[in-house]
């Protein structure tokens, strides 16, 4: 695990480092490449710009010179030599030339002398070419010194005027200040980078601008190169070659850290060349600023990308670590579960082998002593016990495997909490008696007795809890079951039902408490080794409670006992509870548990009975005394079997002794009262009523006293209903059974018709008027047509009363049979032998339900 993690980390770290390196390389390369590229681009731009600039300036020069030449030509053509007197002509020329801004005007003799009309006489720098051009009748410009240290541009146009000395001149020459040309051509400006010179072929300046101070441009280049320890010869040679051939020349001058672009164009109308210079200094500065900015941005971008990468890496690494931890946890859990299962298997194998050994051994002993009946019976008894134990274990394992494979489902049906509690009490009783434990059951605040639930699973939960309590509580210990209801947060349709099973047995350690609901865990210490069981009971219980949407909590302390608290939100059953009303009696409840007294009084009140309660026999006797004095006797007394000051039987004797035999006394007990029945009867107890005291328990227990006649033998007649006028069809193939059933059921006042088999049953029912029969009692095994078939046939008849209640009666009481009955469409099932009370109760319920529904 660690190894895997570290190798993953190493891989990630190395990849990260490589990616970082790669990123830095790519960005650096980009920076360098772009910087170089931008320098090249600047040079290209410079070349293009300079070429255009040179041409523009050349053109501009040409236009300017042409304009000025044409002005001079206009003078010549405006004032022909023969038009006027020479003096007048000179004046006219001078006036016109001055108005056109010429600095001076002169006649130029074929020999090269000036006859000044006005202005200073210029001194030509290189008179030869100029004079030649003038004598050839061309127009030309030339440069001349004015004598004031400034330069003038001379514009010469052929003309033949008579000069002052009487000879004929060859040209009229006008002059302009050199600065005029420089200004007009913008050869130099403070705001522009570019500056221009005009030079002659030999390098001397015609017009000088910028920082140039030497007289010769070639000297200037040479000097600039020499400052850097280099020679400018090569450039000068190239420049001169270009000048000679009259081509444009463009080059880049590199003075170490400074670069200048040089452009040379031949100027028209002259022997001059325009030199345009672009120093890259500032451009380079701008470019290098740009490069620097670009570089910064690149590295900033690089840093951002790297940071993002780093963050992603760290985040991913964290996630990886978490996942690894999770994986490790899951693996440990799986290993733990697997270990628990293996341990469980080995324990379970051992547990299965123990009863199995007993069975095998006892079978061997029985075989060996086949003639010794006593011995064989003894063996069989032990085999039965072991088999039952084995069956229990296997059932638990099967249940658990059903749960583990998710196959456990709930079969919701109508459940009476009273019946559930009654049944678990009767199951618990034998064990409680054999271990001499105190067993008590409390109910209070029961608003709904009938709920929708899976009765089998609910029973299983309760029996598991109660079974554990019984198992882990030593002899003489105390076990309590409490049941109470409250409003459910799920709404009015539901009722929150609490079931609390408490004991003062051996309790549990914290460790076991934490694991008790896990599958395949069982406390395997010496103190419980003798206790039987698969160890799956609590896991199954928990699972069932979870499936029912409830909760189960456990409180336990080692040596102090345990408390299991189950909370379920059960749906209230839709069937309206029977109309349970008793006469307005006064009843006295005597019990040492105040909660039971209060809850019982409340229940009694809800069925129309006024009740008082007393916590002790002494208190009860006092209350009876008081009532006797005011001659308002209690109609019935409910007496607990166990009271703090005297037991119920003694108390009953005392009541009989002091107040006579008239008032019925009912003994309340959660125990099987068969053992004390005789004693109780002798003490004057009228009858028994079993805990828990549900409303219906009280109602059915006290109902017999409504008729004085019923009060005589309450334990026989207590639950029998009155069916006078009811018609019931009984399908039974055996006459003896029919006679017995008929004898017993006729006592309830109903009228019975006999159908000897299923076919006759269906025929009789179809032949009867609608609504004639109130119920059908159906034997299952009959010739011609079985009970199942007959039921199905009745349900398929086209009659409005085909939903008649059908109760199955059979000698088989397997749960599959019951299910089969219900599947066939029967409403209920009773086992043979006929229990008149059960049939009476069922018939009463089913007939009443049907009437309610219709």
């Amino acid at each position: 695990m660690k190894k895997r993690l570290s190798s993953a980390s190493r891989f990630l770290t190395v990849s990260l480092a490589l990616v970082l390196l790669l990123t830095v390389c790519i960005f650096s390369f980009l920076a360098v490449f772009m910087s170089r590229k931008s320098t090249e681009t600047i040079s290209d731009v410079g070349t293009t710009y300079m070429t255009g600039m040179g041409e523009k300036t050349t053109q501009h020069f040409e236009t300017t010179i042409q304009l000025r030449l044409s002005q001079v030509e206009a003078l010549v053509s405006g004032f022909q030599p023969g038009d006027a007197l020479p003096e007048v002509l000179r004046e006219e020329l001078a006036f016109n030339a001055q108005t056109r801004g010429f600095e001076s005007l002169a006649f130029y003799s074929p020999t090269g002398e000036f006859d000044m009309i006005y202005g200073d006489e210029p001194l030509l720098a290189d008179p030869e070419p100029f004079l030649r051009s003038m004598n050839n009748g061309e127009s030309k410009v030339a440069v001349a010194d004015t004598g004031h240290g400034e330069k003038d541009i001379l514009l010469g146009v052929s003309a033949e005027y008579r000069m002052a000395d009487g000879t004929i001149c060859t040209a009229l020459v006008a002059s302009l200040p050199a600065s005029y040309i420089a200004d007009t051509l913008s050869l130099y400006s403070e705001t522009s980078l570019v500056y221009c010179h005009i030079i002659r072929r030999d390098g001397t300046f015609v017009i000088r601008s910028g920082g140039a101070f030497r007289e010769n441009y070639f000297d200037r280049i040479q000097a600039l190169f020499e400052e850097q320890g280099k020679s400018g010869d090569q450039y000068i040679r190239e420049l001169e070659a270009a000048m000679d051939s009259g081509e444009d020349y463009s080059t880049l001058l590199n003075f170490g850290n400074e670069r200048r672009h040089l452009q040379c164009n031949k100027l028209p109308y002259s022997e001059w060349f325009l030199v345009t210079v672009l120093p890259y200094g500032e451009l380079d500065q701008a470019v290098s600023d740009l490069s620097r900015t670009w570089l910064y941005l690149v590295f900033l971008g690089c840093a951002v990308v790297l940071t993002a990468l780093l963050v992603v890496f760290l985040q991913y690494s964290n996630i990886l670590k978490e996942q690894m931890a999770e994986l490790e946890k899951t693996r440990k859990e799986a290993v733990h579960a697997n270990k628990a299962k293996s341990e469980f298997l080995s324990n379970m194998s051992h547990d299965i082998r123990t009863p199995m050994n007993a069975i095998v051994g006892m079978t061997a002993i029985a075989t060996a002593n086949i003639d010794d009946k006593q011995q064989v019976q003894n063996c069989l008894k032990k085999i039965t016990l072991s088999s039952r134990h084995l069956l229990g274990l296997i059932n638990d394992v099967l249940d658990m495997s059903k749960i583990e494979s998710g196959k456990l489902t709930l079969n919701m049906d109508l459940v009476s909490l009273r019946e559930v509690m009654d049944s678990i009490v009767s199951i618990a009783q034998p064990q409680v008696r054999s271990k001499h434990q105190q067993f008590d059951i409390f109910i209070h605040d029961i608003s709904t007795e009938n709920v929708c639930c899976d009765s089998v699973r609910l029973n299983q939960v309760l029996l598991n809890l109660l079974g554990n309590a019984l198992k882990f509580t030593p002899e003489g210990g105390r076990i309590q079951v409490a049941l109470y209801e409250e409003e459910s947060p799920k709404g009015g349709e539901f009722v929150r039902t609490h079931i609390v099973v408490t004991d003062n047995g051996i309790g549990m350690s914290q460790e076991i408490k934490d694991k008790i609901f896990e599958s395949f865990v069982r406390e395997d210490s010496a103190r419980v080794r003798r206790t039987e069981g698969s160890g799956l009971g609590m896991a199954i219980t928990k699972y069932i409670v979870d499936t029912m949407g409830g909760t189960i909590e456990v409180e336990s302390e080692l040596g102090q006992g345990s408390e299991f608290h189950v909370t379920l939100d059960l749906q209230r059953a839709e069937t309206p509870e029977e109309d349970m009303i008793l006469p307005e009696w006064n009843i006295l409840v005597v019990d040492d548990d105040q909660q039971l007294c209060e809850s019982t009084t409340a229940s009694l009140k809800s069925i129309g009975v006024k009740a008082d309660w007393a916590l002790t026999a002494e208190g009860a006797l006092e209350m009876l005394e008081h009532r006797a004095q005011i001659r308002d006797h209690y109609q019935i007394i409910l007496l607990d079997w166990k009271l703090p000051d005297m037991d119920g039987i003694t108390a009953a004797k005392e009541i009989r002794r002091r107040f006579g035999d008239e008032t019925p006394i009912m003994l309340i007990s959660a125990y099987d009262w068969s053992e004390i029945e005789t004693e109780a009867k002798e003490a004057g107890i009228t009858g028994f009523i079993s805990k828990p005291l549900f409303r219906s328990t009280l109602f059915y227990g006290l109902k017999p006293f409504v008729n004085e006649a019923g009060a005589e033998e309450p334990h026989h007649e207590e639950l029998l209903g009155d069916f006078t006028g009811c018609h019931v069809l009984l399908a039974e193939d055996n006459d003896l059974n029919w006679e017995i059933a008929s004898e017993l059921l006729s006592d309830l006042g109903m009228e019975l018709d006999w159908a000897e088999n299923g076919k006759i049953c269906v025929d009789k029912f179809s032949a009867s008027p609608v609504g004639f029969y109130d119920a059908v009692l159906m034997d299952l095994r009959m010739p011609v047509m079985t009970g199942y078939e007959a039921t199905a046939a009745i349900r398929e008849l086209d009659r409005p009363d085909r939903d008649i209640p059908i109760i199955a009666m059979t000698a088989d009481a397997f749960s599959e049979d019951i299910k089969k009955c219900l599947d066939a469409g029967m409403n209920a099932h009773v086992a043979k032998p006929i229990d008149i009370r059960e049939i009476s109760r069922l018939l009463e319920r089913l007939i009443k339900e049907r009437h309610c529904n219709t």
């Binding site: 026989h716 193939d733 055996n734 006459d735 003896l736 059974n737 006679e739 017995i740 059933a741 004898e743 017993l744 034997d779 095994r781 009959m782 010739p783 059979t810 000698a811 043979k832 032998p833 006929i834 229990d835 008149i836």
Partner: protein
Amino acid sequence: MTLKDCYAAMGGNYEDAIGRLRSERLVQKFVLKFLDDGSYDLLCRSLEEKNYEEAFRAAHTIKGVCQNLSIDKLQASSSRLCEALRNGYTPEADALAEETAEDYRQTVAAIRAFQEASVG
């Protein structure tokens, strides 16, 4: 011979029967009628004819009657026979049928003795 003795003789539960039928008169009436019940004959006939389905039903009926009358011994043996025949013939059935026959004879003998005693 009283009815209680008769029950003891045939391995029945007298209290249980009284508890269910609530009077000695009724128990006596039905016990005597047991002699006329044709289920046992049907059982013997069906077994002979190897009609095990019918035999199962007959055994089942005997079991039901015995349950109602609390004739526990015969009920136990007929119940076992019933289970052996539930899904058709099984090898145990023969021995169990013999056992049931034995119990039936014991029951009938007890009832006849009682009948004679009460008539006589």
